[in-house]
Amino acid sequence: MAVAATKALRIYEDDHAPLRLIAEIEGRGPADVVHAALSEYLNTHRDDLAEAFSEAQQAIAKGDMKRLAEVAAGGSRRRARAAVSRHDRL
């Protein structure tokens, strides 16, 4: 998988200072630090993404809509946890 590293990213305000500190320690620019972290993150999840992609291809090839729905629902629990975590500010 080729990943272009040219996208402008928004960094949380609170992260600016630690980001600059890490960049200084590593002798790199802040953008390089962010993109390295993103690449690492993507690599970490590469197997999960590839598995979902492959399972979706198989379900589509077989016309197995039940299986395709299961693949689509693979993130439901994760999304539900994220949704509930937002309640802290309510």
Binding site: M1, A2, V3, A4, T6, K7, A8, H45, D48, L49, A50, A52, F53, S54, A56, Q57, I60, A61, M65, L68, A69, V71, A72, A73, G74, G75, S76, R77, R78, R79, A80, R81, A83, V84, R86, H87, R89, L90
Partner: protein, 237 residues
């Protein structure tokens, strides 16, 4: 495939606590489809009818233990408490009570007595809605992607755009045998991100014979930079 102008609609759901505790319905009713739930209780029927037409009501209810804008819903002597969670594009029926004006077990004191945790949807409530969304997404994704692919093939060099399953905004352009696809990472309606699994399904439908490792992720479509929340995908020529 849709242009998205007429398909933005909210999901509607009642929380398990509301269904079981407030409306006193059996456990199996929690997982039922809205159309089946609507037959079980007048408040649910009115909720699904009215909040489908408008996600908010006219009368807000103050003094709740959660900082939300919630509306009263009337169904005969029953009162409901609904919340339009705009970020998630879900309208919830959070609570219901038979209305006995002035009495201690009246609906409004009941709504105000509920703790934030009791009032708001829990993980299982959200998961049921997201599973339902996933089934709806899976039902039309392939048809929508095939229509876009065909259109892009018939108009080479021209960018065609649409919403897959009404939820994911996609632009595609065909260049000879090659296809480039840009996917916006905002899930419509609402402000959520497209779930990773849904993105993979859209890509699998556009590139049914590709290996995941061969996909090229970029930020350009037909030579132009895509929006900051879009990713472009293609295969090596």
């Amino acid at each position: 495939m849709s242009d998205g102008q007429d398909v933005d609609r909210n999901e509607l759901a009642a929380t398990e606590r509301c269904i079981r505790r407030d409306l006193d319905l059996p456990p199996e009713s929690v997982a039922q489809k809205p159309s089946e739930q609507a037959e079980r209780h007048a408040l649910l029927r009115v909720f699904y009818e009215r909040r489908a037409a408008s996600p908010i009501g006219q009368e807000t209810i103050e003094g709740l233990q959660a900082n939300i804008v919630a509306y009263s819903l009337h169904a005969g002597r029953w009162r409901g408490l609904t919340w339009h969670e705009q970020e998630m594009s879900i309208v919830w029926l959070l609570a219901g009570r038979y209305h006995r004006s002035g009495e201690q077990d009246d609906s409004y004191p009941h709504f105000r007595r509920l703790s934030k945790q009791q009032l708001l949807p829990n993980e299982a409530d959200y998961e049921r809605v997201f599973d339902r969304e996933a089934r709806a997404f899976a039902e039309s994704v392939v048809k929508d992607v095939r229509a876009m692919s065909q259109e892009a093939g018939e108009r080479p060099g021209e960018i065609v755009s649409g919403r897959v399953s009404g939820r994911v905004a996609v632009r595609a352009v065909g260049q000879g045998a090659d296809l480039q696809v840009a996917v916006k990472m905002q899930l419509y309606p609402g402000t959520q991100q497209v779930p990773a699994e849904w993105l993979m399904i859209v890509l699998a439908a556009f590139f049914p014979d590709a290996s995941f490792e061969d996909l090229i992720w970029s930020h350009q479509l037909a030579g132009a930079r895509v929006a900051s929340d879009e990713y472009a995908f293609s295969l090596p020529s």
